[in-house]
Symmetry: C2
Subunit: 138 residues, 2 copies
C-alpha cells in the first residue's frame, strides 16, 4: 500500500519543470541532482511521462525536457496512473475484472470507497498548485 519511488520521482520532476522558465529545455541531470534522484533511472521515468504526453524531450546539445501540458491540468492522480498503470488498490476493483459477488461483497465495498477517497485527495491539487510550495523532501 505504498506509492512507488518512481511515482514520487515523476511528481518531483514535473514540479521542477513547472518551476523552470516556461518553454525552456531543462536537462535531466540537473533535475536528478537537484532532487537527489539516480540520473539514469530518472531518464527511464521521463520516458513514461513522454509516452503519457506530459513532457516532451529533445536529444543532443541544448536538448532536454520540458512540460507538454498546462500545469493546472495535471494532478498527482494523473501521474500515478501514468507511472503505475492503474489506480486499482485491489484486483477486484480493476475495470475489466469480473466477480460474481461484486455487488454483495462487503470487502469490495470498503475497498471501493477507499479507492475513491484516495483518488479524490490525489486529484485535489494540480501541479500548478503544488509548485507554489517550492521545496520537498529528499
Amino acid at each position: 500500500m505504498q506509492l512507488t519511488r518512481q511515482t514520487e520521482y515523476a511528481v518531483r520532476t514535473l514540479i521542477e519543470l513547472v518551476n523552470s522558465p516556461p518553454g525552456a529545455m531543462m536537462n535531466s541531470r540537473t533535475i536528478a541532482e537537484k532532487q537527489n534522484m539516480p540520473e539514469k533511472f530518472l531518464n527511464k521515468t521521463i520516458q513514461i511521462l513522454v509516452r503519457a504526453g506530459m513532457v516532451e524531450t529533445r536529444r543532443g546539445m541544448q536538448g532536454g525536457i520540458r512540460l507538454a501540458v498546462s500545469p493546472d491540468s495535471v494532478t498527482i492522480a494523473d501521474v500515478l496512473k501514468a507511472i503505475e498503470g492503474k489506480l486499482a488498490i485491489n484486483p477486484c476493483l480493476e475495470g475489466d475484472r469480473y466477480c460474481e459477488n461484486q455487488g454483495a461483497c462487503p470487502v469490495r465495498r470498503v475497498l471501493q470507497r477507499t479507492q475513491e477517497a484516495i483518488l479524490a485527495e490525489l486529484s485535489r491539487e494540480t501541479l500548478a498548485d503544488l509548485a507554489k510550495g517550492e521545496v520537498f523532501c529528499s
Copy 2:
C-alpha cells in the same frame, strides 16, 4: 499503490472466522478451500495474525484457528497494519523519518491527506460489520 494479496487473504480469513461458530476451532485447510487461497501461504499469513494477537491457534487433531478478539474491535486498517507492517504510503510519512522540509513540502502535504483519507475509510467498519455480508470476491 495496491493492497498485497496477503492482506486480502487475512481479511477474508478473519471474516470467515467471525462467521464460524464462536469459540470453535476452524482448520486452515477448510478456510483456504472455501476462500480459494493457497493453504500453506495462508498458514504463514495466520502466523502474522497470531503474533498480532488477532487469532489463536492450536496444533494437532481438533486443532485449528479461532478469533482471539472481539469482531467489533478490529477494522481492515488494523489488519493492514498487522500484515504490511506500516501504513505509510510514502517513506516521508513514516513516523521516525526526518525530513527538513516536512512542514513546507507540498507533495508531503497531499500524501499526508491521502493517507488520512485511506485510514479513515479502512477504519470505518469492523470485522463484525463486514461479516454481515457473507460473500466476497474470489
